[in-house]
Symmetry: C2
Subunit: 126 residues, 2 copies
DNA sequence: CTGGATCCATGATGATACTG
DNA sequence: CAGTATCATCATGGATCCAG
């Protein structure tokens, strides 16, 4: 233990947004859930979709999503082994948020890059 | 430098959700933006709304939100000093996401708490 | 060969004290 | 009031090792 205890535990600090952040927050959970929103995926399939996540982090984040009841883990005892992850019906309720995040990202990626460059340049000449 | 450089820098890893996570992700940004969505707030006003954030983190996160162009910082040169933070018009485009996160949190807080307790109990007896 | 665990390094976040 | 400085802790990354 002692590892993989990302979420606050208390969940709330008087703000409903905190609850949601505690479930889909962190660096990877949103992206993982988004990939699962288009159907069940195997462990290494998820890795291919997120080339920069480490095995360790993928495992940990999937465990937390399981604990929160938004992701289901199905183990097929075959050779070679196979583990499939999917959204639970509860996890499906997050889809609207995930799709909005996807759409916002598509629409505003350029803007963000520009803003960051502009602000950094501005900072340089003070 | 070396501190307060939360966002990836590259923004994208082939996934649009990553872009959005990079802007509103982290432990606090979503909550900060949500509180600003109901109007401009002063620094200590935000602290009161988020009793568990530290001054340091609030400052750092607000700076990053500024760099990304979603938050505006207005300085009033008075005694005592006064600084007001507000959403930019670009930042306003995040409101639908923030409100969905709020609504999901309100509706599912209980479920999350229950799920976590259930899973932890289940884990105990293996 | 797939899924996952362990060890150690780095970066993000927290706590406290202090300043214009 | 609105921060900054410094130090401690926790989450995340990287490499490697283990089980089926």
């Amino acid at each position: 233990m002692s590892d993989a205890a990302n979420h606050t535990g208390v969940v709330n600090a008087g703000c409903p947004v905190t609850v949601t952040v505690d479930v889909i927050g962190g660096k990877w959970k949103g992206v993982i859930l988004y990939h699962l929103s288009s159907g069940a995926k195997r462990f290494n399939e998820l890795r291919r979709l997120m080339p920069s996540i480490t095995q360790r982090m993928l495992t940990l984040q999937l465990r937390e999503l399981e604990v929160d009841g938004v992701v289901h883990r199905e183990i097929y005892r075959e050779i070679p082994p196979k583990v499939e992850y999917s959204l639970t019906s509860f996890g499906e309720t997050l889809k609207p948020i995930l799709f909005m995040m996807r759409d916002w990202g598509i629409k505003n990626e350029e803007v963000i890059v520009t803003n960051r460059n502009t602000m950094l340049d501005a900072g340089r000449e003070e």
